[in-house]
Symmetry: C2
Subunit: 253 residues, 2 copies
Amino acid sequence: MSSPPLTCHAIAALPLVHTGDDLGALLVEAIQTAGIRLAAYDVVAVCQKVVSKAEGRIVELGSVTPSAFALRVAESTGKDPRIVEVILRESTRIVKMASGHLICETGPGWVCANAGIDESNAERPDSVTLLPRDADASAKALQARFSTDAGGAPIGVVITDTFGRPWREGLVDVALGVAGIGAVLDYRGATDMGGRTLHHTVLALADAIAAAAGLLMVKGAGIPAVVVRGVSWERTTGRGRDLVRPAALDLFR
Amino acid sequence: MSSPPLTCHAIAALPLVHTGDDLGALLVEAIQTAGIRLAAYDVVAVCQKVVSKAEGRIVELGSVTPSAFALRVAESTGKDPRIVEVILRESTRIVKMASGHLICETGPGWVCANAGIDESNAERPDSVTLLPRDADASAKALQARFSTDAGGAPIGVVITDTFGRPWREGLVDVALGVAGIGAVLDYRGATDMGGRTLHHTVLALADAIAAAAGLLMVKGAGIPAVVVRGVSWERTTGRGRDLVRPAALDLFR
């Protein structure tokens, strides 16, 4: 082989995560169980759901009283009014509401279905999971733990979730928060193979890592984390929240 | 290790590609040079640029006479009027035109900057590369070649390009065309770990593969293809053009 391949290792052996659990410690153990020793420039992609559970970002539906508006939206969408209420509480803006779907803006500007609220919580059926409040902070806490485990080596963390997107069919995994690794690789000012200056070339590297990890985190597989090895991310910059494109600069809408 | 990792091998040793070249043969040779023997369920991600070059999807700018509209757009955007003319010829619709940028709809409905036209052609500086006319057909031709090389084993091909997207900063690689492998993994009707039926869960697997391959195809690296091994794609369906979401069903716009 001319160069070592990029590898993605599924981390399967994580116990069910509960509020207050030390997710970093659980993941370190699960990574060891998978036979992996974290090394410099490894990136650990962790799905949002286990992060939210550990952080207690769970709402018991029994505690939710739907507003008048939530009741009306529930009727028109066929959704549980309590879930609609939670979606509205998490939203800063409704992007679109049609055909039984709610596309919302939430967190630092994430645009996603149902404000990212997840109804599939096997062990607590009458509850829903919210997105982390600050996914960059969530990543930072895990990153410190992994880096310590790796003897101080630079380790990246990407918190991922599965989003729909405009123009294109189907869901892909994207990055909500990052630590260690930056969110983007900025090539502006660099030159291509022909010596031409590259303009407007900012790669969303953390999103690409999330998508790669997502290939192993497919629904039903029970894979909450993936160790991605072999990505050149030394020159990445920015936080997960920087992946949200400001409206004024978004020509793609 | 509990399960074999997903791996992405960069295929570097491709000569400069010219119109009429047998790209499949060149790639088979480059894959062998990289020390890889294609095996069942490998996916070869191939960047659009070498496909377009082999297919002669190149326009010499000297042959282009800009229309009155192209001249006006060139003035307002600061672009070469001949390139604007080529962009307009490739576009079915201008999605947005602002701040020196042209976001266009082209091909089967791809929404991308400059109709996907690529100006960085090192060996022919006064020319631009267009997107393949039918990227699924391009993929099909390569797929047949790779499958033969692998003794008839199922091999997937994904033709990739680097697109910007709404809502989120930065570029990611997406799939334009597929063969062997389907574009999406459709989980509708399947159940989650808690036995709950999964609704609206269609994963854009080919886009995720493109994004993963893109981690090795970063600008300036000169990597036109990546062999992705370890993706479960037996149940994927659909062509690359099916990744274009019909406007009437696109709540994310």
